[in-house]
């Protein structure tokens, strides 16, 4: 009965009953929402844990028909790709975030903010095509750089918006106090506002890294994959999600096992990153003095 919500009347047991039913429903919904996550973790754990060994992290892939080998090059490749993407994406993202937060009242900034939000929603495969067209086709080579550019484009909006939010949360009184003491605006920015918002910025960067480390689609035709240790940034590069994707599609059980194990490790890394974000956020914002 909808009217009972506004009606202080009705018997106490009845209201308590409805309260309990609704409470149980909410709890159930939360449990249902959580189930996929637990299922995914459990399923990957069950399938992946047996395949984890040192070879997986240190050896190169073996040709089909030979058992063993690993995907050490893919783990190294993912690390290189994340480093490259951060190198390209973090400075642009942070600077754009500063612009939006500190000078964000213009029409141009509003358009920029809107476009950033749009970019967040662009399917990653399309970003892969952009990087393919911009980097791979002109250089005539699939490369680590192309993969880094694709991932950086995914990172930028995430970093921009979290930086903006973090800096907006820095109390204006801090800026005013600094400016009031005669400190230059850029010094205020560098030494007062940025350090105060650092926790939020780091959170944004880590979230962005967690986001890109599992991306497969933008790497298909940029990083391209490789079966060897990386040989310069101008050559194709392996990546864990890419390797998992390829191995999962292949008809070989040995490769399936390796794909499960690698998926498990990748998921753990992302999980650790996310937990790390929590820790940083908690301690980071308390640092504002």
């Amino acid at each position: 009965m909808a009217s009972s919500a506004f009606n202080t009347g009705g018997s106490l047991p009845r209201r308590q009953f409805i309260n309990r039913v609704m409470g149980a429903l909410l709890c159930l919904s939360a449990a249902v929402a959580l189930t996929p996550l637990l299922l995914v973790i459990g399923f990957i754990l069950a399938n992946g844990i047996s395949g984890i060994n040192l070879d997986l992290l240190t050896k190169l892939p073996k040709p089909v028909g030979e058992l063993g080998g690993g995907m050490g090059n893919a783990f190294l490749g993912t690390a290189i790709l994340i480093a490259l993407a951060s190198l390209f994406g973090v400075p642009i993202g942070v600077l754009a975030g500063i612009y939006l937060s500190e000078f964000g009242n213009t029409g141009f900034a509003r358009i920029l903010r809107f476009l950033t939000d749009v970019l967040t929603g662009v399917p990653s495969i399309i970003i892969g095509i952009v990087a393919y067209t911009l980097v791979v086709v002109p250089t005539h080579s699939f490369s680590a750089v192309a993969g880094g550019v694709a991932l950086a484009i995914i990172m930028i909006p995430v970093v921009t918006r979290t930086t903006e939010e973090a800096l907006r949360r820095v109390p204006n009184a801090l800026r005013e106090a600094s400016l009031g003491l005669g400190v230059h605006e850029w010094k205020t920015m560098m030494y007062i506002v940025l350090p105060a918002g650092l926790g939020g910025i780091v959170t944004g960067v880590m979230l962005a890294i967690a986001r890109i480390s599992g991306e497969t689609a933008p790497l298909l035709f940029t990083a391209f994959g490789s079966r060897f240790w990386q040989d310069g940034l101008g050559n194709p590069i392996a990546a864990v999600p890419l390797q998992v994707y390829k191995y999962a599609l292949a008809p070989y059980k040995d490769w399936h096992d390796q794909a499960w194990a690698a998926a498990f490790i990748l998921m753990m890394l992302i999980l650790i990153l996310n937990v790390g974000v929590r820790v940083v956020t908690r301690s980071g914002f308390q640092k504002i003095r």
């Binding site: 050896k59 190169l60 892939p61 073996k62 040709p63 089909v64 028909g65 030979e66 791979v136 086709v137 250089t139 005539h140 080579s141 699939f142 490369s143 298909l220 035709f221 391209f224 994959g225 490789s226 079966r227 060897f228 240790w229 040989d231 310069g232 940034l233 101008g234 050559n235 194709p236 390829k246 599609l249 292949a250 008809p251 070989y252 059980k253």
Partner: protein
């Protein structure tokens, strides 16, 4: 130009590569002795396998200049991928070079070759005229292995299902709708087939397997030829699509009454039930390496000079009828920096590399085709000049 091809020309890199290869072959003590290392590796691999005919001269022909490692990138056919990883790995251990082959699909391989983002492509389908026109320079087709399409079905309790080409075409045309159709029961007198609707499954993506499969249907059914045709992807009259071999086999295994096709190696690895197909000689054969070999033997007798032969529904008692070549695609004129290495790779793959075919469920190239390959590869030019 790649940015870093000369970066890793150090001696250390060569030694590292040999160590990483982890082969039982003795690692070269120093890459300076490249030629002797190559020879010893060749000897050790020859000891393990019966030597291929006409091998020695070919692999000795082009040796990399000492100490220079070349990175090659190839892309294309998924069906070739297992064979290529093995062959390219063996070649890499001999020569110290690296071949990065990525199985992106035949269509994507052609596209990337056209864009010149890879050094060579691989395809189970002959490039169409439009595709050849789109390429910036003439492309050659080098037959490199033989692949077959297996037809699989999901009928619990039914083994050794037999079909002929006409019936298979009619199933895929949608004119045969039930498993107990007289056309099917006539071929399977000893099997009890229920009145189950046939669920047709095909590839949804462009695929070399589809190319071979539709070429076969077009060869055995005039209806199919006129209504649907043969290509890497066609306008299917009936059925549901699955992406990749795993997509099709997944659909087949989940749908009772389903029929589908995928590459033979996939069926073997996953131990899937396959249809016995009636060949031109009237015999029923399952997809197999000898079946594909027999199919290619007929084609080998009269190969066109450009290597673009299709031999579905080939004659012979043992022939499995749904088989075809897979080709390496290369520009006729090769890059000056990589040309010699590419030619060595192509030569190795079509000669000594064929030793690896059989254990991986591929049919090795017949001798006449290997000879034709040598001629095609011999016609390649490097930087505008003859080799």
């Amino acid at each position: 130009m790649k940015w870093n091809t000369t970066l890793l020309s150090s001696l250390a890199a060569g030694a590292l590569l040999a160590a990483c290869g982890g082969s039982s072959a003795p690692a070269p003590a120093s890459p300076a002795a490249a030629s002797s290392a190559a020879a010893s590796a060749a000897a050790s691999s020859a000891a393990a396998k019966p030597a291929a005919p006409a091998s020695g001269a070919a692999s000795a022909a082009a040796k990399p200049s000492a100490g220079t490692k070349v990175n090659l990138t190839g892309a294309g056919s998924t069906a070739d991928f297992p064979l290529f990883t093995k062959v390219f790995d063996a070649w890499g251990q001999q020569t110290g070079n690296q071949v990065n082959y990525q199985s992106v699909g035949s269509g994507a391989g052609i596209e990337q070759l056209t864009k010149k983002t890879v050094d060579f492509g691989a395809s189970d389908a002959i490039m169409t005229d439009a595709q050849e026109k789109a390429a910036p320079a003439p492309v050659v087709h080098i037959p490199v292995t033989i692949v077959a399409a297996a037809v699989s079905y999901n009928l619990p309790g039914v083994t050794n299902l037999k079909l002929d080409g006409e019936t298979l075409a009619n199933i895929y045309l949608g004119t045969i709708k039930f498993w107990d159709d007289p056309k099917i029961t006539a071929l399977n007198a000893d099997v009890k087939l229920a009145h189950t609707p046939i669920a047709v499954v095909h590839r949804s993506d462009g695929s070399g397997t589809t190319y071979i499969f539709t070429n076969y249907l077009a060869a055995v059914s005039s209806d199919w030829k006129s209504k649907v045709g043969a290509a890497t992807s066609v306008n299917w009259p009936v059925g549901i699509g699955g992406a990749g071999s795993e997509g099709v086999s997944g659909q087949v295994s989940q749908t009772p009454g389903a029929i589908g096709y995928f590459e033979y190696a996939y069926a073997v690895q996953n131990k899937l039930a396959t249809v016995l197909m009636k060949n031109k000689a009237g015999k029923f054969t399952a997809p197999s390496v000898p079946g594909s070999t027999a199919a290619a033997a007929g084609a080998a007798a009269n190969m066109p000079a450009d290597g673009k032969a299709i031999f579905v529904d080939a004659p012979g008692d043992d022939t499995y009828p749904i088989a075809g070549f897979s080709w390496i695609l290369s520009y006729k004129d090769l890059d000056a920096a990589k040309g010699k290495t590419l030619i060595d790779l192509f030569t190795y793959t079509t000669t000594k590399g064929q030793d690896f075919a059989q254990p991986l469920q591929y049919a090795p190239l017949p001798k006449p085709v290997q000879d034709l390959d040598a001629k095609i590869i011999g016609g390649l030019t490097i930087g505008g000049k003859a080799q």
